[in-house]
Every structure is written in C-alpha cells, then in structure tokens.
C-alpha cells in the first residue's frame, strides 16, 4: 500500500494531544525496550528516537485495543492480530492511566460514535436535530444505524 510519507511526517510535527518519553518495545519476539518520544496526534501515535526530528514510525489507532499490562505499562494491539502487541512503559501508574485513556479516545471511530450518541440524545430531548446547523444531518455516516455496522 502506497502512502505519502511526507504527509505523515508533517502530521507528526503538528501539536500533539499528548507527548512523552516512554519505553517502547515492538511486537516481534525478542525485541528490547527502547526509549522513544511518543506523540499522539489525531488518530496516529508517532514514535521518535529521542534525538531525532523525524519519526521512526507511526501507528494508526483505529480498531486498536489498549490493555494494561503492568501498573505502569500498557500495550496496543490491533483487531486483526490481538496478540501482536506494542508495549509501552510509563514512569508511573498515573501516567499509564492517562495515556490509556487518551489512546482509547483517539480514534475517529470513537468520535463518530460519540457524535451519533449525542445527536440522538439531543434529538430525544429537544426534538431538534443538532446537525442541521452544520448541514450534515443527511450524511450516512452520522446515522444511528451506522452504529450497528
């Protein structure tokens, strides 16, 4: 699959929702923990060598699962291979919880569901469709039926 690396590199330089130096271990057997600057930008998690400006890599966070592994460590894995985990080590349990919460909210899918939920709630309460003001009320992706997919 081709993608524009320059686009992603530019995205990695955008203001981050969260950024910190964490221990990171890749999913391959026998991989070791490395210090990485980890940066959450929209629905991507970028990771950099601590002294480099360009990211080593990126993880798209759609259909990901964030699991606590230790009091101060968590892992990210993906729907198609749940045992293949990217491990992250935080400096405290608190930091770990913050990152886990942020990563779980970081997907576009999560936001879409939130939008549909709120829209439905507001409609039930006020009888009005709050998306009309945006001119997007008819779009298929915002319909309640979309949640069943």
């Amino acid at each position: 699959m081709r993608y524009n690396e320059k686009e992603l590199q530019a995205l990695s330089r955008q203001p981050a929702e969260k950024a910190a130096e964490l221990g990171m271990r890749g999913p391959k057997k026998g991989s070791v923990v490395k210090r990485r600057l980890v940066k959450l930008v929209v629905n991507f998690l970028f990771y950099f060598r601590t002294d480099e400006a360009e990211p080593v890599g990126a993880l798209l966070l759609e259909h990901c699962r964030v699991t606590q592994e230790e009091p101060s460590g968590f892992s990210i894995s993906f729907l198609e291979d749940p045992e293949r985990k990217y491990h992250f080590e935080c400096c405290s349990a608190e930091q770990c919880q913050e990152w886990m919460a942020a990563l779980r909210r970081a997907s576009y899918e999560f936001m879409r569901r939130s939008l549909i939920f709120y829209r439905n709630e507001i409609q039930k309460m006020t009888g009005k469709d709050p998306l009309e003001q945006f001119g997007i009320s008819e779009e298929a992706r915002f319909q309640l039926s979309g949640l069943k997919a």
Partner: protein
C-alpha cells in the same frame, strides 16, 4: 535515512473492515505520491473509500488490498483545472512543503460536489469540533431539563437521588458492572488473554459513555432519564457483543476473521 514505519497491515485491515465508510465511489486519479504514473492525462480509474480522515484507493470495488492511502490532515480541497479537457476535477492540496497535491476527477457534477464536501469535512479536527459542540448542547439541554424538573417535581420522590456531578462514580451499576477504566466495555478483562470468540464488538465498544464517565464527572446529572439512556446504550452494545460472541463460538473461523468481511 530509513523509511518511516507504519502499521500497514492494521491500516489495510481497517480499510477493508465493515466499519462505516463516509463516502465511496469511482474517481480518476493522476498523481500525488501513492498513485502509479498514468499515460497522458486520462487518469487511472480507481475505487476510492473515505473512512474518517483516511482516503483509500482500490483497483476495484472488490479489491482485497488498498493501493494507496491519503491522510486528510492539514489539507484543503478545491475544484481544479484538470489536465486535458477533464471535467469534474478537484485537488487535495497540502500545507506541508514537498507534498504534491492529489488530483482527482469524478464522473459528474453531483459526484464532484459530494466528494469535495465529504473530503473537506474529513479531518479529525472537524469531527472533534462537531462532537464538542454537541457535547455542550447536550449539557445545556440536560441542564434546562433538570431545572424544569426540579421546579415541577419537587414533591415526587425520584428513583435516583440527585447528586452533584463530581459524585458520579465510575463503578456505577446499571445492570452491568463497568470496568475500572470507565469504559462501557463491561466484559473486557484487562491485561490477560481472552477467549477467541470475543471478536469485533469489544474493540468497538469505546463508546461515548466512557467520555461521560472517564472525566470523573458527567455532563449530565445522574437522573432517572440518564440512567435509562445509558442502560439502553449498554444494552445495545452488550447484545451486539453477545451476538458476535455466539457467532464466533459457533463458527470454526479463527478469531476475528469473520468480522472482517461484510
């Protein structure tokens, strides 16, 4: 310098999954990185699928692997002067230096307009804006409903004692217990191995209820109507989870594969 890594297999899996596409259709494509060079301006016709802020292209509607991905952040979409006398063209132009614009053409004016609209609203930031706006509208609606209720229902004992928002407990029982991370993924255990049957649903259950609960306070007050709303919400998700679990348990397919294809 080594190429940047991306979890491509997961990205491709997401592209092919039955999560809702925000827009899809045939478009002719000329360039921008990620597309092969085409002979003299006729463009290559591909099947494009927009999911969130990700635009994928496939060789055909039945394509089993995406040809390319364009991440729609930091870009603008505008009508374009196509090469040759091509009509219905538009371009995705990036702010970032060194990123070539992607030129695309639809089959007709309606498709062109629909694509430009969809792509213009595809960014994460736009979605976040709309969600925040709705969150605040819901908060306001709840607030005025509470005021109305408190004034007219004073004499009637309510089923749930009204509490200040910061007493909203993540351990809230609602017919289902919640995991301590406050997500509505009530059946998800942490850190451990999981039975193979729990496929797609647990991944999808990062619902808005966790937004409500995860902050330690809720934009809605814990009144009867709110409880029943959340109960319905959880109910929906739990039933879906059950259905998928049963499906997987009965089928002989490994793990999550059967959730991939529509």
């Amino acid at each position: 310098m080594r190429a940047m890594k991306l979890n491509e297999r997961s990205v491709a899996h997401y592209a092919l999954s039955d999560s809702p596409a925000d827009h899809a259709g045939f478009l002719r494509t000329w360039g921008g990185a990620g597309t092969p060079p085409t002979p003299s301006g006729t463009g290559r016709r591909c099947w494009f699928v927009l999911k969130g802020n990700l635009l994928f292209s496939f060789e055909s509607r039945e394509g089993r692997a995406p040809l390319s991905l364009v991440v729609l952040e930091g870009c603008t979409v505008e009508l374009a002067e196509a090469p040759m006398p091509e009509e219905f063209a538009f371009a995705i132009r990036f702010d970032a230096p060194g990123v070539r614009p992607h030129l695309l053409a639809a089959d007709g004016p309606a498709a062109q307009e629909a694509w430009v609209k969809a792509l213009s609203r595809a960014s994460f930031g736009y979605m976040r804006l709309v969600v925040r706006e709705l969150e605040s509208q819901l908060r306001d609606a709840r607030h005025s409903l509470d005021l109305h209720r408190h004034s007219s229902w004073k004499a009637i004992p309510s089923r749930c004692k009204p509490q200040a928002p910061d007493h909203w407990s993540p351990g809230l029982e609602n017919g289902h217990s919640l995991s301590r991370d406050c997500s509505p993924m009530a059946l998800v255990e942490e850190g451990g191995s999981r039975p193979a049957g729990r496929g797609l649903a647990e991944w999808e259950l990062q619902g808005p209820a966790s937004l409500l609960l995860g902050r330690g306070q809720s934009p809605v007050s814990p009144e009867t109507s709110c409880f029943s709303t959340l109960h319905d919400w959880y109910g929906q998700e739990i039933m879906e989870l059950r259905r998928l679990w049963l499906q997987s348990a009965q089928g002989s397919q490994p793990e999550c594969e059967e959730q991939d294809r529509p």
